[in-house]
Subunit: 454 residues, 3 copies
């Protein structure tokens, strides 16, 4: 008989696997203690982040900071188990995305007062989203040049695998919900938003004449929305636990040497993110929002975005924070939040492709001048619409932009950078979510739909 | 840098593409003007048809009436963009099909009065549908022989790709909704009808004893139905715009010489369609319906079916027209309409396969006699059940019938005809929808469920 | 012309096909007569079982008890047609599984009284399920050894196709409902249970403070549950007819010689099933339930499970029987029933893999000792969690267990047994369902939630 089956099946073949699972559970117990001692949620989130970083670092230390973790089975097992807790939590959050988006879009529309306008709301949201995208792209271009990314690494190369780019026409067609149930089943958020929009507008139109007939549908939307947000709050309570597992997982799975080889790029990315973040805070200040208070209040979605690397998975937390803590009206928070998780992503679709374009241009010896930069900006802004907010879309965005700049043949030069993508994805996703929140606040302000505790 | 990326991405690489997009928008503006001047809807639909034909013709003219449009990039781009408007509109209509069918079937059943009978309704609907299918098949056989389709084109050929035919048992099994959510997600209309039927019958049975408990479900069905039909009416308002784009698209994408080579077949098809259409009107007259008034009232679904080539996509318009303009009771319109969009299609599943069978028999030298025609009729009527109402099903029907007649090996002889299929599909789909409407009116009449204006 | 198309299409190419379809309809008429004479349901179910066995036997007789039915077209046709009636009925039952599970889980939770506990219910259910699984596995091991299965058939063999086994971590992740609509669409029962659980708990939490807002959702759940159970009762009425077709189908499709070659195995399996069944009844007696009365009351789901070979398809009948006839509280019946149809299956995941392991160990000359048996028990119990309750999962369970015992290379030795799987599946599935019912009764008893008749 082979006793390895059971251990294979359980993904526990090594003493170290058990050790680190026990340690993870130990940190969970610590978090539980903090919870019992009524330490507030934000502090627990920060503690979780620190614990996650430490735990990931210790795993790397025990493994002897290997070049790669691919051939270390126990790290694979540990990350699988950590992933179960971390990504399992994200699964539960994602479970809420479709019902939440569907219900909240209907709700925002049927609760609109006379004179308010869905078209205006959509227009302003896209305007601010694309505005911050443009700023982020410019920052990326400037920083990329200051860091001289790719200079000195010129290589001639000619063929490379590229993701197929579909035209804007095909993209738009694909987003239309040919079948609302299928759109829901395939988590086509934009399709669900469009369907819900039609439903909401229809309810509004029928409100006066057929108020009695449609009341059950309206009441059900309100009830279901209440229930789903309550489920969201239940799930969110487990966030600190998930953050430890998610962060330790990401750190543990990377080879440190791999990070060092592209250290310049990582640094340039995080510097760019920091600058855009500061710009975001300035935009908020111009809107009369105290940036310090804002940071305190929005720490949770930011940390979750950073650790989970999923804008869409973070959406329920984003909406809840904007509503409960920042004081944005429920409907606007849901609507703009849903849009921002799918379009105009400051990190994934602006800074990152901008840096990559500069890097690859330098590596491939492509000359850069004003027309190059102007074209780059246009392509980034256009392609930032209609890229879905799931892990991996940043690579898609880069693929579109690089080929758009005529450098498709040199795409494989970026291999080293793609290998450490999760490290980059953390910062990018956090900035996406912050961009969405800043947009929401700006739009809400312009409609005077923001109040009370900041 | 290559500036062609952006143009590729936007599908605008040629001045002519921009020109014809601008012209399309110009025609939209014209339609908007007509709308503002309160020109009635039917007149706007006719104007749109004429504009669409003209626009398609002009594109062909500018392209110099090419043999094929496959190697003319700007036509491809124009048709993509026109398709975005045209088929985008159809997508929104299709979005409503599943909720509309689900809700309306439940509604028809729970609103049935004592003594009314679902089985009787189903039976009569299928009887009339298959009756008109038989008539249409006979017309197709007669016209096909009068036109001597395929005579003089005898070729010997032996192998050919055929679609696999599944037996009637497998077809029936496939239609059963093993999982209602999956059936909805896959747009299995018959499955949704069956599930909704069970729900409706159960609500009826519980109506007396558990009236209080089930009331929320009943009220919700009524509310949701009201909302979905309201959404349908909103979408339908854009129909004239879509018709221009759809029709121009179909005309523009065809090479005129390709049409001429199979002109006999096109003519035979449209003559057959015309004859069956007249027979339909006679059936209506026998039911005491004024054919002229009927044509005026049902112009919209007929034009939409013609231009969109989708019986299923047209369904929301068909139901709305039957209810609002022809005066058929809501439930019957939905029920029979849903059935007719899936079975007994006069154009796609009767005339077309009949003509094809005659053509291929002549080309392949297959002798035709009474037993050939009798067999052909039987096969057509049987295969007309259970072919789903989406573009492309006509080819499926032909495939079944041709192989059923033992001429599967000669299927490839029909290549030239298949190449211009969209031109044929327009007439076929329109006749399908008319057959459905005539059936609905006939059945409604037999239940005395038709009233007021016409 | 070939007249065989029509017959192929209709699956009627032989006089015998027609004959046996007519005979089946004759037995239906007989059942209808019994129904009209108000013969009670259980007696009609028994009659159906006998008729099905007879009919299957007669078909075998007419075919001359062939080695295999693969090259007898008319048997294939007859079984297709019988399958249409039998499996068509099962499709309709399966149609109800997802709505029923979803609604009933919510209902059980929102109707829980203070002090009752969902966690406790889940824990006790799993405890009893896995307890009976262990017992069943032990019985399988003992009987397998008593029958010396595989002894004398030692063959050396080395390569074999195995189903890929996914680790427990992957299995758990896969069960989480990342998207509730997708979970419903893919009939992921565990995912639906989890989602419904969250919804139910949220409704409960909001019950006091937001009673008015959430009332429409609560009322709708009650209404929809009532409607779905009513649909279930309608479908269930046709069970006797389906049982005839299902059983005749299974018997007819097997070659008798194929059965004889593995007669030992069949016998060992059914003896094991019988013993575990008796143990089940003893457990019931210990719970104060009269086994005779129990058998009378639960005959319907048992017969349906036996003939249909689908635990999941039988679920609506299981729940209805437990509620209406055994007197278990609705919520507990639904909850434990849903769990039991997916985990801890006594027949498919315990007895069967145990017997197979013993057989293959003997055939491959693998030595068996205490550690072998201990390991086997552990692997069986662990793998019995998370195997979905559809036909074919028993093979999956065997695959997991055999490879878990390090005998993956010898898997193909079981070919002869797999060939007659449906014969084995009947007993296994019946035992699964009985295990679920015994668990439900035991758990209900422990919560004092069982009453009245029986």
């Amino acid at each position: 008989m082979n006793s390895t089956f059971l251990t294979d099946f359980l993904m526990i073949t090594n003493f170290k696997t058990i050790l680190f699972i026990v340690i993870l559970i130990g940190t969970f117990y610590l978090m539980k203690l903090l919870e019992r001692k009524k330490v507030n949620f934000s502090k627990r989130m920060i503690s979780a982040t620190i614990l996650g970083l430490l735990l990931g670092g210790i795993i790397q230390l025990v493994a002897g900071f290997p070049d790669t973790t691919d051939n270390i089975p126990w790290i694979k097992e540990v990350t699988k188990w950590y992933g179960l807790f971390g990504y399992g939590f994200m699964d539960l959050l994602k479970m809420l995305v479709i019902p939440l988006v569907f219900l909240s879009i209907i709700k925002v529309i049927i609760n609109m007062k006379e004179g308010e306008n869905l078209g205006k709301l959509t227009f302003r949201s896209l305007f601010v989203l694309l505005g911050t995208t443009t700023i982020a792209a410019i920052v990326g271009i400037v920083i990329g040049n200051l860091f001289k990314l790719g200079v000195g690494l010129e290589i001639v190369q000619n063929n490379s695998e590229m993701k197929e780019i579909s035209s804007v026409v095909d993209t738009l067609r694909k987003l239309l919900p040919k079948n609302p149930i299928k759109a829901m089943s395939e988590a086509n958020v934009v399709g669900v938003v469009i369907f819900a929009g039609f439903i909401g507008v229809a309810i509004n139109r029928l409100k006066k004449k057929y108020s009695d007939i449609i009341k059950p549908a309206k009441d059900l939307v309100e009830a279901a929305y209440k229930i789903i947000t309550s489920v969201a709050m239940t799930v969110i309570k487990f966030m600190p636990y998930a953050v430890i597992a998610l962060l330790a997982n990401t750190i543990a799975a990377r080879g440190i040497p791999a990070l060092i080889s592209v250290f310049d790029f990582i640094l340039a990315l995080y510097v760019s993110i920091f600058i855009v973040f500061v710009i975001h805070l300035i935009i908020l200040a111009l809107n009369g929002i105290n940036p310090i208070k804002y940071l305190k209040n929005t720490m949770e979605p930011l940390i979750l975005a950073f650790t989970s690397r999923s804008s869409l998975g973070t959406l329920p937390v984003t909406i809840e924070t904007l509503t409960e803590k920042v004081g944005v009206e429920e409907g606007i928070a849901s609507f703009v939040g849903s849009l921002g998780a799918n379009a105009g992503m400051n990190g994934c679709a602006a800074i990152y492709p901008a840096l990559m374009a500069v890097t690859i241009a330098n590596m491939s010896g492509t000359p850069m001048g004003f027309s190059f930069y102007a074209m780059l900006l246009v392509i980034i802004v256009i392609s930032s619409i209609g890229i879905a907010g799931l892990p991996g879309t940043a690579t898609m965005a880069v693929s579109v932009v690089i080929s758009g700049m005529g450098m498709g043949n040199y795409f494989s030069l970026a291999g080293g950078i793609l290998a450490i993508d999760p490290i980059l994805d953390m910062g990018r996703t956090m900035l996406n979510v912050n961009g969405t929140m800043v947009t929401t606040v700006t739009v809400a302000k312009s409609f005077d739909k923001i109040d009370k505790e900041k």
